[in-house]
């Protein structure tokens, strides 16, 4: 599934049309709203990674298993933690290094399952050994029975400076 998504992205990124909204979280939210078909909650087929266009590099997709486990079905190129580069195996959120932007953004996936609505979060964290200011969103995707079967997440960030001598604790 990971490879299928990446193949779809390769075509989609080239053909993607620019969206008017400037913020990544709002673009993803707009896609999620558009994936509502009538009263039907957004399903994975209606909101694919490919549909995110250029943002696919900053997007990840989680598959929610029955046993309270979330595994990455897709990880955008810029989000892939260094230790995971070149590894094709599906990865669990629990295994994701927490000092990465992917770990930061995906760690709250339980909250989406509980609330059943999109959640945005932001703050300060670490990515590739550098402090960053990030903003992330996760949106739930439902199966035909109304159970959350997947979560799409997106995150962007920028480095922040930590001044020497600034007390942290």
């Amino acid at each position: 599934m990971l490879q299928d998504h990446q193949g779809a992205i390769a075509t989609s990124v080239a053909q993607s049309a620019p969206l008017a909204e400037q913020r990544l979280v709002l673009r993803i939210l707009t896609l999620w709203r558009a994936a509502h078909i009538g009263e039907t909650l957004p399903q994975p087929a209606a909101m694919t990674v490919a549909a995110t266009g250029d943002d696919a590099h900053n997007v990840y997709l989680l598959e929610i298993g029955a046993a309270e486990e979330a595994r990455f079905a897709y990880i955008g190129e810029t989000l892939l933690p260094r230790p995971w580069r070149g590894v094709e195996a599906s990865r669990s959120v629990a295994d994701c290094p927490r000092d990465t932007i992917l770990g930061l953004a995906s760690t709250h996936w339980h909250e989406i399952v509980e609330r059943r609505v999109p959640v945005t979060r932001g703050g300060i964290g670490w990515h590739n050994a550098a402090p960053v200011l990030y903003r992330a969103i996760m949106v739930p995707l439902f199966d035909a029975g109304g159970t959350i079967s997947a979560i799409m997440g997106a995150v962007n960030w920028r480095p922040v400076e930590v001044q020497d001598g600034t007390p942290v604790d």
């Binding site: 909204e21 913020r23 979280v25 709002l26 939210l29 707009t30 709203r33 509502h36 927490r98 000092d99 770990g103 930061l104 760690t107 709250h108 996936w109 339980h110 909250e111 609330r115 609505v117 999109p118 959640v119 945005t120 979060r121 932001g122 703050g123 300060i124 964290g125 670490w126 402090p131 903003r135 930590v162 007390p167 942290v168 604790d169």
Partner: protein, 159 residues
Amino acid sequence: MAPRSTSLARQSGVEGRGVPMLRAYEIQRLSGTRWVLDSVSDEKDVAITVAKSLMQSGRAPGGVRVMAVQTKPDGDFSQITLYRCMPGEPPPAEPAPRPKAEAKAEPKPETVHRDFKHSDGPPPVPQKPKSGHLMLSLKIAFGVGFAVVAFELLRILSR
């Protein structure tokens, strides 16, 4: 001092998987007569931006509002409305600074909440009683008289 990574991680909620938000901003949309949760944010500005974008979208609801929800450690919570937009209602205006003239014309309310630090004016200076001045004059006169008598006495004795 703890390493920076630990502190920053704690700040951002990395430690403790799925740390719930103590203060969340809920974007709610009006569906019929019910307010339905639309999405959640941990930042007020983002929540209001999301609410505005929802109203401007092609599937605009009957209304939208942003609630700040504060969850206490005991599980109890309180909420207040931060933003509200209904079709047909004028958009919520930014609070403008009150003109000075208008503020002057406004009479002060009779009942105001006071504490020890605030009052409407300087505290009244306690008036000294008038008898105080008389006593002071008497003391001075007595002192002068005593000095004169003592001087005369010394002069007599020195002869």
